[in-house]
């Protein structure tokens, strides 16, 4: 009897075994009960020459994570990484984030940095949702882990020029010639090439009379603007970031060149707060195209209110908006995958079919190259210190103004 009692006496081994057994039995229940979570690596140019849009993207990601928790019930644990606006740092940032356990990446705004980050994502088989980056090469190089929400430059340009053609066709005294001023980086060159192609294909009613590329870090654009002015063009088509958009307008004012129309496909400037802060009355009337939030979407008002409460001095611009949307795409994939493993998220992203929460676009669906196939673009015009959506008509807040009031008469 004593022997039996002794045999049943708990030992360290039985206690340890019992605890492990209990933990194993409880584990599925715990996993089911807890909110699903995912560790997302956000790669943005938070410092350097692209810090302005990069910081906007960081704000969009943070707001997106907050929103995704309420909407999808997914805890998005964001780890931020900074490319310092250097394309080659995309890969370094991606590798660091993957080492930290991120199972999906978001980024990287700049096409060069995005391609560089995708190389690391490809090697580690970690999916990457590209919120902004328009170079064609992002989805044309055979990457299997890329899911790009943003349209390629060629598509934006084609849609933009079609809108421009509509606007020009509606004018009684339309412009006749255009000068193209563009950045000579990956995005700028890719967009300029697309403009050349689409210009001929769409049979644009204006003649392109000058091409003037310029360096991203240019300190002075006086000669570039002088060349464009000397071409005799009455329209300025520019492909810019914010800083150079400001420099170009300043030079136009100083050199007394008032084009009838300033149109910037796939560009920053008109959609950015800094543009209005720097140019004041000289900002008025310039147009740009790109993605924008849908003012008529059911969640837009609440999202903008939340953004303004979190960041009272900032705008919810296209950078923040696309970053926000990318996080929703990830959250949707995690919910459908019922897992936060990279392979499962990748499989779920491939079958994404969701209405955008904030941005103006058709349902988000990725083709075999990872490109969102239902993008739409909006046309913005600078009016009274903020951009107004002036096209397409279904979401327009105002009608486009034409021609521009000459700078010297403002």
């Amino acid at each position: 009897m004593d022997k039996i009692v002794q045999a049943r006496k708990p030992t360290r081994r039985t206690v340890l075994g019992g605890t492990l057994g209990l933990a194993a039995a409880m584990a599925p229940w715990r996993a089911k009960a807890a909110m699903p979570s995912v560790k997302v690596g956000a790669i943005m140019p938070s410092s350097g020459v692209l810090a302005f849009p990069g910081q906007a993207c960081v704000r969009g990601v943070n707001l997106g994570a907050k929103f995704a928790k309420e909407r999808f019930g997914v805890v998005v644990d964001v780890v931020h990484a900074d490319t310092q606006s250097k394309p080659e740092n995309g890969r370094i940032a991606a590798e660091a984030l993957i080492r930290q356990g991120c199972t999906v990446l978001v980024g990287a705004w700049d096409s060069g940095a995005t391609i560089s980050a995708l190389q690391a994502a490809e090697a580690a088989k970690v999916p990457m949702v590209v919120h902004i980056a328009s170079a064609t090469q992002v989805t044309s190089q055979g990457f299997t882990q890329v899911f790009r929400f943003y349209p390629p430059a060629s598509k934006i340009v084609r849609l933009s020029l079609a809108e421009m053609k509509n606007i020009v066709a509606s004018l009684s005294d339309p412009p006749k010639t255009a000068a193209l001023l563009h950045l000579n980086n990956t995005m700028g060159t890719s967009t300029a090439t697309s403009i050349d192609q689409a210009w001929a294909e769409l049979d644009m009613p204006l003649k392109l009379v000058a091409h003037v590329p310029y360096d991203e870090k240019a300190r002075d654009l006086s000669v570039e603007v002088a060349k464009a002015k000397a071409s005799g063009a009455d329209t300025l088509v520019s492909v810019t970031r914010v800083n150079d958009a400001i420099m170009i307008t300043r030079e136009c004012v100083k050199q007394g060149w008032s084009p009838k129309m300033i149109f910037s496909p796939n560009s920053n400037g008109v959609v950015d707060k800094a543009y209005y802060d720097a140019l004041g009355k000289y900002a008025e009337g310039a147009m740009s195209t790109g993605l924008g939030y849908n003012p008529k979407s059911p969640d837009t008002k609440a999202i903008i209110a939340q953004f303004q409460s979190d960041y009272p001095n900032e705008w919810l611009d296209v950078n923040a908006g696309c970053a926000f949307e990318a996080i929703q795409i990830v959250a949707d994939a995690v919910v459908r995958a019922k897992s936060n493993a990279s392979a499962d998220i990748h499989a779920a992203l491939k079958t994404t079919n969701m209405e955008p929460v904030l941005m103006y676009s058709g349902p988000t669906q990725f083709d075999s190259t990872g490109q969102n196939i239902n993008n739409r673009i909006a046309v913005f015009q600078a009016r009274g210190n903020r951009p107004y959506v002036v096209g397409p008509e279904s979401i327009a807040e105002a009608k486009p103004q034409f021609p521009l009031v000459p700078f010297e008469k403002r």
Binding site: V212, P213, A218
Partner: protein
């Protein structure tokens, strides 16, 4: 076409004078203390922020901002020399380089913490102003900065030539040991010279604030630009700095017009290589004894 060329050349000359202004502070510090100030660009950016803030908060004109920047940066440079730099005057060059790179990174970090990474464009109306002479359009902000560069050079030259302290500075620049032997206050001379160099950087920054958006990351660009300018013009020479600036300004303008605008930087660095190959001391630099 002739009008385009004239406008572009004049614009290049004015921009060149602005470059010369940016390089002045670097050349005076090297000329006297024989230290290469890698934090020069960060000091110019401090001046840019002073120009930006005084314009935004109090609506000060650029010239007033430049005066404030000059005083503030002189005091700052003086203190920096007394507290840190003077301990490195006799140390090997590579240690001095690391010191100034460290100081530069510290300054950029401070600017980032204070102002953030966003570019801060000037709110001054001067950013949009030009004056017309016949068919020429002259950028007023550049004209003002170019005039200031000329005035500063003349004033500094007169100070060094005609004041007794200026003679002390020249003597210290010529022969530090000899100066110490005859009882010159070398530590004070160095501190004041460093202050003057920092003041020149600050004044340049404030004067160019209508031309460049204030942003911490410009520091590296300005340091590099100042280096190229003084190496082409001749290290330690004021007139050389101005000449170097003019050469770069005109080269950039001509390159942009003649070839492609994206060739601007390539051609000015190409020129630097040519100068280093055939006249390593620059246009007006002194021969090494």
């Amino acid at each position: 076409m002739a009008l385009l060329w004239t406008n572009v050349l004049v614009s290049g000359i004015l921009m060149g004078l602005v470059y010369g202004l940016i390089a002045l502070g670097l050349t005076i510090i090297f000329g006297v203390i024989r230290m290469v100030n890698f934090a020069h660009g960060a000091m110019v950016v401090f001046g840019l922020y002073i120009g930006y803030c005084t314009g935004l908060w109090w609506g000060f004109p650029v010239v007033a901002a430049a005066a404030i920047a000059g005083v503030v940066m002189f005091a700052f440079g003086y203190l920096l020399e007394v507290l840190v730099v003077k301990r490195f005057v006799t140390r090997p060059h590579h240690i001095q380089f690391i010191l100034f790179i460290g100081i530069s990174l510290l300054f950029v970090g401070l600017q980032l913490i204070t102002f953030g990474p966003d570019p801060r464009p000037s709110v001054s109306e001067l950013s949009f102003k030009t004056i017309s002479i016949a068919n020429l359009r002259l950028d007023l902000a550049r004209l003002q900065a170019a005039t200031a560069a000329a005035v500063l050079i003349v004033a500094l030259g007169a100070f060094l030539r005609f004041s007794s302290f200026g003679r002390f500075i020249r003597a210290a620049a010529d022969n530090r040991l000899g100066g110490l032997v005859v009882g010159l206050p070398i530590p004070r001379i160095y501190a004041i010279t460093f202050g003057i160099g920092a003041a020149c950087a600050g004044i340049a920054g404030a004067l160019i604030s209508p031309l460049f958006d204030a942003q911490p990351f410009l520091a590296v660009d300005f340091t590099l630009l100042a280096f190229v300018t003084v190496i082409i013009g001749g290290l330690g020479s004021f007139t050389g700095a101005l000449l170097g600036g003019l050469t770069i300004g005109i080269t950039e303008a001509v390159a942009a017009l003649l070839f492609a605008p994206s060739m601007k930087a390539a051609l000015s660095y190409g020129l630097l290589i040519v100068v280093l190959l055939f006249r390593p001391r620059g246009f007006l630099g002194a021969k090494e004894s």
